[in-house]
């Protein structure tokens, strides 16, 4: 397996949020993490991204522990949080400039994933004036700047319209087909259908889950303690 997450633990004071979360995935996979609110899905993603420190566990990429090797982690992973990591007063282009080398930016806008995301349509618009969908597309565009092997996404299409959602999911498909690995936290049916592997987070642990498209069954499984 290219990515192996083993026994991740996280405690906030006395509250043990993650008691030993483990999963694995290969290049080209899309691993989805589902669960009710407050179970620690975003926390797990932020630990993998290096934003939070875990209280135990490993995250191996091709045998190397990313939690202990910040440089490798930075080269391998890109993280798109739930909110928008943008500089609000500046244009979309300025925001992209923070992450891209000028030559790569031009190329990606001409024929790369940025073009697929439709970022060139609002390059000169100030970030604070962008719609939710545009902001999300721009955030994903920024994360793709370093051509990561693994893309960590926290509810990437939540509250977006169907057209925007489809556009983003298409980009994800292309990313996967190019050998990228997606790890996404989701509540969305469309996103779940995109996933090649699904994991249900409950009681601080992950367990493989098979989504059949039956929402009632999913609801029952989510409510099960």
């Amino acid at each position: 397996m290219d990515l192996t997450v083993e026994n991740i633990q996280k405690r906030y004071g006395r509250n043990q949020v993650l008691t030993g979360a483990s999963f694995d995935a290969d290049r080209g996979d899309c691993a989805g993490i589902i669960g009710t609110n407050g179970t620690g899905k975003s926390t797990l993603l932020r630990i993998l991204a290096g934003v939070l420190r875990s209280n135990g566990g490993r995250c191996l990429w091709q045998g190397e522990d990313l939690l202990k090797n910040a440089s490798l982690r930075s080269r391998t992973l890109a993280y798109v949080p739930q909110g928008t990591p943008l500089i609000e007063e500046l244009s979309a282009l300025d925001n992209l400039r923070l992450w891209y080398v000028p030559r790569d930016l031009e190329r990606s806008l001409d024929e790369g994933l940025l073009r697929e995301l439709g970022v060139q349509d609002f390059l000169k618009t100030t970030a604070s004036r962008l719609s939710g969908g545009m902001r999300k597309r721009l955030s994903i565009g920024c994360a793709l700047a370093k051509d990561p092997s693994v893309l960590l996404l926290d509810e990437p299409t939540a509250a977006l319209d169907l057209v925007c959602k489809e556009r983003i999911l298409e980009t994800f498909e292309r990313f996967r087909s190019n050998g990228g690995l997606l790890v996404l936290v989701t509540h969305d049916q469309w996103e779940m259908e995109l996933c090649s592997k699904l994991y249900l987070l409950s009681g601080g642990k992950l367990s493989p889950y098979s989504y059949t498209g039956d929402l009632q069954a999913l609801l029952r499984d989510l409510e099960r303690p």
């Binding site: 939070l52 909110g83 990591p85 500089i87 007063e89 923070l98």
Partner: protein, 410 residues
Amino acid sequence: MRKLPSYFGLQLKRAARLLPRMLAVTLLLAVLSAMSALILSRLNQDDASQTRVRIGVAGDNGEEILSQALDLLQSVDSSRFSIGFERMEEAEGRQLLAKGELNGLVLFPDGFADALWYGEHRPVTYLTRAAGSDVGSLMTRELVETISSLILETENAVYGAQTLVRDTLPDQDPYRAGDQLVIRYASAILDRERLYTVELSDIGDSLSLAGYSLCGLSLVFVLLWSVSCSPFFSRRSRELGQVLSAEGFGAGGQVFCEFIAFFLLLLCAMAVAGLLAFLLLGRFGVVIPELQRAEGSALSLLPALLPPALMLCAFQFLLYELSGSAVSGILLQFLSAVIQGYLSGCFYPSSFFPESLRRLGALLPAGVGMDDLRAELLALPENPARVLVWAYLLLFLLLSLLLRRRRNRT
């Protein structure tokens, strides 16, 4: 750290976007500061309209000599700028006293002047407001009592001298000798300017009032200016900080870039305000003695202001890091500016405060800045406050860094 140049560049761009708005606030603050400086400065200049203690004189109607004596006193005595006597009707005086427009009212009984000619004493009434415990009332009451004693004792002395001349120098005219004594007395003793010397204690180790005001108002400007910078801080994205940290561009780099951009904004504002102050002070002919001695203008204060401004800027940055929202940020900045400005003697000399408050004020960032600026303006050979300025700067930046690191991890 590969992100440092691009992040710094973008922070500068953010700052530049906010510049027009900041400059508008700067203009407003600078004009207000200059007006305050002007008023303070004019208060200190010779101008009959700037009387600080106003005393009404009423009674003894029909007696011209009292009015003439008052007119004479007002026109020959330079202390009229501090104390002004005004002839008025008793009813009007009582009304003005009740409104607080008079500090005191002296009531002369009818026939006072005639009685005085014949050596008869009729008590003069001094009216003040109910509490009468403010410094002005206490001083004027004391003054009236002193003058009453002086008149009575002088009168006794004049009569005594006349008797002495009559008994010991029969060839001399005792009345003429009495008149000469009175004239000498009036010119030598009753010249109120010579009755007291004014020493303004602790207005900055011999800083002039104008110099002190310039230091204080410059720091108040720096303190208040940060209120207008809330958009620079409130619109920052916490997620951006977190993602940057995850990418290896940590809290240190982020704080450094943002702080420098914030300080450059302040520099622009200071340059504009300094220029305005220079023009306004020049236009109204206000002279800062310390700068004049060094052959400098208001603009030459700017280099001296840089270290304290840098330190205060770091303090404001820390406050914005502490605040969770735009509203709390603005409130924190404003309250900090007002409280610090007041306790550190930027608005009013701190020597008027109790010792404990003075000590506290001197330790506040604005107090340290005030001491530093004062030492620079006076060109003192040693400036111990400068060490504190750098220490505070490092402390505030370090605290900001720790707060940012914490914020990025939550």
